[in-house]
């Protein structure tokens, strides 16, 4: 905490804050002594002068120097704002703590009352209270202070309630400490730091509110003056001398900024989190493949694919290192590998869906002859929308919660094939039925959260079937589902492939699942393909990693008294792999 404070103070923001605070305190202390006479001495000869060397902000209607008045007013303005803050914080803390200690029915009543008061803006509450305490400096200080009580009380109540639920407080209560004792000994010390932080922010708001009240003529009254009062006097003569109004305005804004900066500095040192530095960005090297013609025999062609992401320090880290493979029409290819092996990144590179932070380079990444490493043309976009479908891992988060299921299906046809809406709707119903969703009429009108998990994933597959899919990329499509639903989804995927002749790229960490579903399996580890083999000849795998993956799968004959084997490399996945998994 202490070293955090020192670091905070030594940072550029900290230095500015400290200097601003010192300047403010200096003005508050010395201004009335130094400029007090200039601020109050009237001089009829100099009245209503514009800005000049002698009077940088000009003079008011009694010939008093406006700049001197602004500086002298700092003391009264800031002290009144701080007075209001003290009232708000004391009142709020007392009310909030009392509310936590009260028996339940009363507690709910007080909490409801705080909520009602909170629904009114601060200024309206301050106006209400200033009716009661009168239009003068002390009345306005009380009014602004009391208007701030509800928000501090709500904060205290929330903080105190959360502390009161913690185990050490429960333990204290079991040990026989009374409610009040618990509050004094355990709750208040724990909620103090966040309260102090919000006090500084509150002071800034109080300063502005007070200036507002004085400006309305409900705060400080002549012959005293604060910034709000000066603003009120200045705006009446804004045509003669705009600086008379702008001067106090600038003072209010600057002081508000200083108070806010104090708040955010204390807040930052109290909860210092490592900030992410801006990453250096290198242009992704794109090797154009203009000379080569795509083989028509392959749906997907990948050659020497490399994908890098910037890490926390902004350095590029390669996650996929020189991957190459191809997929024939109608073929089902599986990619297996542990978390962070680069399988999802590879699939997203094929789909052209990597985010802007990914740096892709490849000799070729082509889908149906379309170069997926560069931005597609309009015609290519249309083809991609119809011919390339993606099924993601979690169907709940992958479907848009604010659009009906039917709408999410029809839009591919409407956008890319210009099919009229009615036709697209009837096609969507057919597709939903074909993926095994009963009552497609009703389901199409529902939102994703009204469907079961398996149904959502089948709808997701159906979304891909609205076009003419040549490839379905299924990125762990069953991981988020339970085992019985997994089977249904796989069956639907299988059936879809049979009907449309589409190829499938199936990503999974489950080698048993992949080998049962796919024609061919690619095994990935640390961003490279370590082995490629026919699914039927999995037992001929030579790479030790593949063999280890297979060995992990329990069989009917596995000795259940012994622990399952564990892949040594997976025992300590390094942190970058985990980060990649989160990004992918």
């Amino acid at each position: 905490m202490r070293s955090g404070l020192r670091r905070g103070l030594l940072g550029p923001q900290g230095v500015v804050t400290v200097l601003g605070t010192l300047a403010l305190v200096l003005v508050i202390v010395i201004a009335p002594h130094v400029w007090g006479d200039a601020a109050t001495t009237t001089s009829v000869a100099d009245r209503l002068d514009g800005p000049s060397a002698a009077h940088p902000f000009g003079t008011d209607d009694l010939g008093r120097d406006v700049l001197a008045r602004v500086l002298v007013a700092a003391r009264l303005s800031v002290l009144l704002a701080l007075g209001s803050t003290v009232i708000a914080v004391l009142g709020g803390v007392v009310l909030g703590v009392v509310a936590t200690v009260l028996p339940r029915p009363l507690r709910r009543l007080v909490s409801a009352l705080i909520d009602i008061l909170l629904s009114f803006p601060w200024l309206l509450l301050a106006l209400f209270f200033s009716v009661i305490w009168g239009a003068n400096a002390i009345g306005a200080m009380l009014a602004v202070g009391f208007a701030g009580v509800p928000s501090i009380a709500r904060l205290t109540y929330t903080l105190a309630s959360s502390v009161a639920d913690r185990d050490y407080v429960r333990a204290a209560r079991i040990a026989g400490v009374g409610r009040a004792g618990v509050v004094v000994r355990h709750v208040i010390p724990n909620i103090l730091p966040p309260l102090l932080v919000s006090t500084a922010a509150h002071a800034s708001a109080a300063l502005l509110s007070f200036a507002g009240l004085s400006f309305l003529g409900l705060g400080v009254q002549a012959p005293d003056f604060d910034w709000g009062r000066l603003l009120r006097e200045g705006i009446a003569r804004i045509y003669v001398n705009p600086m008379a109004a702008l001067g106090p305005g600038i003072a209010i804004v600057l002081t508000g900024l200083v108070l806010n900066a104090i708040g955010s500095l204390t807040g930052e040192t109290a909860s210092r989190t490592p900030r992410r530095p801006a990453g250096r960005r290198a242009r992704p090297a794109k090797r154009a493949s203009a000379g080569e013609r795509p083989e028509p025999a392959a749906v997907v062609e990948v050659e020497d694919l490399r994908v890098s992401f910037p890490d926390a320090e902004g350095r590029l880290v390669e996650r996929v290192r020189g991957v190459g493979f191809s997929i024939r029409p109608g073929e089902t290819v599986g990619i297996v590998g542990a978390s962070g092996s680069g399988k999802s990144v590879t699939a997203m590179a094929v789909a052209g869906l990597l985010g802007a932070e990914a740096h892709v380079s490849a000799a070729a990444v082509r889908f149906q002859g379309i170069d997926m490493t560069s931005a597609p043309t309009a015609a290519e976009r249309s083809r991609l929308g119809l011919e390339l479908a993606v099924v993601f891992q979690d169907p709940l988060t992958s479907l848009n919660p604010s659009l009906t299921v039917g709408r999410q299906l029809t839009e591919v046809s409407e956008v890319h094939e210009r099919v009229p809406r009615a036709r697209a709707r009837s096609r969507a119903r057919q597709v939903l039925e074909s993926v095994g969703i009963a009552e497609p009429h009703r389901r199409a009108r529902q939102y994703p959260h009204q469907l079961s998990g398996g149904m959502r994933q089948r709808a997701m597959i159906g979304m891909g079937l609205m076009g003419r899919p040549r490839l379905v990329i299924a990125d762990e499509p069953t991981t988020a589902l339970d085992v019985t639903v997994q089977r249904q989804v796989l069956r639907v995927l299988h059936e879809a492939r049979r009907r449309t002749g589409s190829a499938i790229l199936f990503i999974s960490h489950d080698i048993a699942l992949v080998s049962g579903f796919c024609d061919r399996v690619l095994v990935m580890k640390d961003g490279e393909i370590v082995e490629e083999l026919e699914a039927a000849r999995l037992d001929e795998a030579r790479h030790p990693y593949t063999r280890a993956l297979i060995a992990c799968v329990p069989h009917m004959t596995t000795d259940r008294s012994r622990p399952l084997p564990v892949i040594g490399d997976l025992a300590e996945p390094d942190r970058q792999d985990v980060a990649e998994e989160a990004r992918a």
Partner: protein, 343 residues
């Protein structure tokens, strides 16, 4: 000795957890209807608190409110007569009943200063304030959503970091400047230096430009920041990846798929902003000399015209409560998951 925080000890220690969830259900209603009823009930309770508070104004003022209102030069006879006119010679409970029945009839009493019915003055002044607040709200919403969406889209995925940082600094500065100070700056620049717009009065479109700008800029910057953050969150969701996988044009991607998912958050903040705008009109009306509720409440507080104060405070409070209710109902209609209805 430490006690392991198992589920059973936690539940048995905390009375809240035991009784929560088995509250007796008197009436089974569809969730939407139940929510609307509950929300209206809450608004009515708040309204009750407000009515009591406005009634109490006269009684909470230290000293004799009638003497304070009429000034030291008023005769004792006049003070006594005014006291009787206001019903202050009655017992407190009787006064409250009279106040309530007056409210129900739309009778808010008579101004001590102008001797006109309070309700008539309010009816004149209220539309001005309402128009000012609503115009400013519209401007801030219409400005904030495109700004927030555009900046989020351009900054997504860590692009254009410098532009993004500069913009967020600018928005922060605009949020920090209070509206009445911004108004002074706008008057100095556009009213006096450029002479582009009138700096006082109310009526035509030209007169509305500066007040609405002064009121709308801060909330707009605040809302734009919320929209920006929400939009960045939405852009990172899996369903946006799904939408991109469909190769939809940018228009559909952002308007159909992203916008509806962040509009709830924008409107929730918008509700707070709207009530803040209502309060802001008080200061802005004072700066631009606009004859609305704000000028009325300020002059009646200065003159200690208590019936008028009670009337204006009541109207402001009803306006704020009504807007809060409206926003909640709109949110419940817009959001298909209606998370708001659980609260």
């Amino acid at each position: 000795m430490t006690i392991p925080p198992t589920a059973t000890t936690a539940a048995s220690l905390d009375p809240k957890r035991v009784s929560r969830g088995d509250r007796p259900v008197l009436l089974r209603l569809p969730p939407r209807a139940a929510f609307v009823l509950r929300r209206i009930g809450r608004a009515l309770v708040s309204l009750g608190v407000v009515v009591v508070a406005t009634f109490l104004i006269v009684h909470l003022v230290p000293g004799d409110p009638v003497r304070a209102a009429l000034g030291p030069s008023a005769t004792a006879e006049l003070v006594a007569r005014t006291r009787a006119e206001l019903g202050l010679d009655q017992p407190a409970f009787r006064q409250f009943l009279d106040y309530l029945s007056g409210l129900l009839r739309g009778d808010l009493g008579v101004s001590l200063r102008s001797h006109r019915p309070v309700a008539a003055t309010l009816a004149e002044r209220f539309p001005t304030t309402l128009v000012l607040a609503c115009l400013s709200f519209l401007v801030s919403m219409l400005g904030a959503v495109p700004i927030g969406v555009a900046t989020a889209v351009s900054a997504w995925g860590g692009r254009r970091r410098m532009v993004d940082a500069g913009l967020s600094w600018l928005l922060g500065a605009l949020i920090a400047i209070p509206n009445f100070l911004l108004a002074v700056g706008l008057i100095a620049l556009f009213g006096i230096t450029l002479k582009a717009f009138p700096v006082a009065g109310w009526g035509g479109a030209a007169e509305a430009v500066l007040p609405v700008a002064a009121l709308a800029v801060g909330p707009m910057a605040y809302l734009a920041r919320i929209v920006h953050v929400e939009m960045l969150t939405v852009l990172g969701t899996p369903y946006m990846k799904t939408a991109r996988s469909k190769r939809l044009p940018a228009r559909l991607l952002y308007l159909r798929h992203a916008l509806p998912n962040m509009i709830t958050a924008a409107l929730t903040t918008g509700g707070l902003v709207l009530t803040g705008l209502v309060a802001g009109t008080v200061l802005i009306e004072a700066v631009f000399v606009i004859p609305g509720l704000g000028s009325t409440i300020v002059s009646s507080i200065t003159a200690k015209d208590y019936p008028m104060i009670q009337g204006v405070v009541l109207v402001y409070a009803v306006l704020v409560l009504g807007l809060n209710l409206l926003i909640d109902l709109v949110l419940a209609t817009l959001d298909p998951r209606s998370s708001i209805m659980e609260g």
